[in-house]
């Protein structure tokens, strides 16, 4: 068993596993009930799947010089995916695209409530000022 065959086998396993990550994301998209759980499924091909496929590519090229480029491509994905996931998740929370009964804990709830109370109090005091100015 020469090393070439071993490297081929490892990269083949990586490729099939990386493709299965995409399939898992698609199944999760189809079966999960709300936006937050679908976001959980969608991350698999974006991070682990891409890592496995880039590793397979690096193994197939049989040279060390491509690894830094592949690492940069993966790190770039690793930097951008959390930002877009954060934006989508925040927009989803604000527009009520979630089933609150499915959440095990909702840390944002208390903060939103406090901000809403503060806004209501400010509106009440401003309203009183307006009344006095009217009289």
């Amino acid at each position: 068993m020469n090393p070439d065959t071993v490297i081929d086998a490892v990269s083949g396993v990586f490729m099939v596993t990386g493709a299965l990550m995409s399939l898992a994301a698609a199944i999760g998209l189809l079966r999960f009930p709300d936006l937050m759980s679908r976001m959980h499924a969608a991350t698999k091909p974006q991070v682990l799947g891409l890592f496995l496929l880039l590793a397979a590519l690096g193994l197939q090229m049989r040279t060390w010089s491509v690894w830094p480029v592949l690492l940069v491509a993966w790190l770039f994905q690793l930097l951008t995916v959390p930002v877009s996931a954060h934006m989508v998740g925040r927009a989803g929370y604000r527009t009520k695209h979630l089933h609150p009964e499915l959440l095990s804990s909702d840390e944002l709830e208390a903060i939103v409530q406090r901000a809403a109370q503060k806004a209501a109090r400010q509106a009440a005091t401003h309203g009183a000022d307006d009344d006095e100015a009217g009289r």
Binding site: R38, Q46, A56, R90
Partner: protein, 92 residues
């Protein structure tokens, strides 16, 4: 062996792309569609990667980075758009 791997990954990625497209078509809200489009883009990236690995070239690497950049900009823009519109509705 590489032929077998290519066949298996082609079938798996086709199924995954079909699932993502079904979610884009059905998706109850705009954000679900954005998420599914992001996954579809990731599947395209995976297909590009597998093509490069199987044929041992690096021609698609810049395209891969460009695709992930487009997905990032697209989903952030749409998320901002959705949030702004809802805020405007609540304030008015």
């Amino acid at each position: 062996m590489m032929q077998t791997v290519l066949t298996v990954t082609a079938v798996v990625l086709s199924l995954a792309a079909a699932g993502a497209i079904v979610r884009i078509a059905r998706g109850p809200s705009l954000l679900d569609r954005v998420l599914a489009a992001d996954v579809l883009l990731a599947i395209f990236g995976a297909a590009l990667c597998i093509d490069m690995a199987a044929n041992r070239h690096l021609n698609n690497l810049m395209l891969l980075v460009a695709i992930s950049l487009i997905g990032f900009v697209g989903s952030v823009t749409v998320a901002r758009f959705v949030a702004d519109r809802r805020e405007g509705v609540r304030e008015s």
